[in-house]
């Protein structure tokens, strides 16, 4: 799980162009949206693409996204449970 969290941090920094941010700056329990990393709606779409491209996981119901993308930790848990 720790390796997956670390990998996700690197992928998110790269994919979302979070300039000047290092993996260790991100608390995996911290909210990704709002007061945490402050991601926006386009970032949310990028995360959906990242899940499909890197982990082969399609998020069919947008409502699920709110739970899955709450933090890096919730993303990692979802990947572990759903990756084939």
């Amino acid at each position: 799980m720790d390796d997956l969290i670390q990998k996700l941090k690197v992928q998110i920094i790269e994919q979302l162009n979070l300039e000047d941010m290092e993996p260790e700056d991100i608390n995996p329990k911290e909210p990704l949206f709002g007061e945490g990393l402050g991601l926006d709606s386009i970032d949310a779409l990028e995360l959906i693409v990242l899940m499909e491209k890197e982990y082969g996981i399609k998020i069919q119901n947008p409502k699920d996204g709110q739970k899955i993308f709450r933090s890096i930790e919730t993303m990692a848990s979802y990947i572990q449970m759903n990756q084939k």
Partner: protein, 205 residues
Amino acid sequence: MGKLFINKYCHIKNNKVFLDGKLVFSDDEDHDMKPFLKSVYRFLKPSYNKFFKMDEISKLAYLCSEYLLQDFDLSAFNKDEIAIVLSNSYSTLITDQNHQNTIEVADNFFPSPSIFVYTLPNIMIGEIAIRHKINGENIFFIVENFDAGLLTDHINNLYLTRKAKVFIGGWVNMGPESYEAFLYLLSPSGQTGNNALEIEKIYNT
């Protein structure tokens, strides 16, 4: 109704930034455009992290507008009294190509939303407007070459019909081999009157 005057202008090309005709920043001409734009950002220190999410041509337009507006008090005008009138010849060709690369191969079809949103030139106007909270009229012309007459006619028409009082006009272009941003600021007070000949003159300085 009075005249419009040229208050300021900024030109970015060949890894150099000129403000009112004077060199204010330069980088090694051999550098690629990407690191150059980042250097300009670091030099200006605007603390605007959205910069890093923009495509390259929007970064160029944004940085040019930062120089243009850094000492101008936009708050003296209503947000809807400020108009943006821009132009170029390549539209968003580079970003269009980047988007195409994400959808070209059928079994690797992953269009990137953050690239796709920049596949219209109007987004440059949007980025400047968001940054400076501008709500006025705007338009983006795609023309073969910089056309001071076209911009001046459109701006004067907006001014005479009281659609706006302050204008950001110019040319922000990026092709496979070159890039250039030229923005100028017009308002009802100043010394040099706004006309196509003057705009052409400062463009060529």
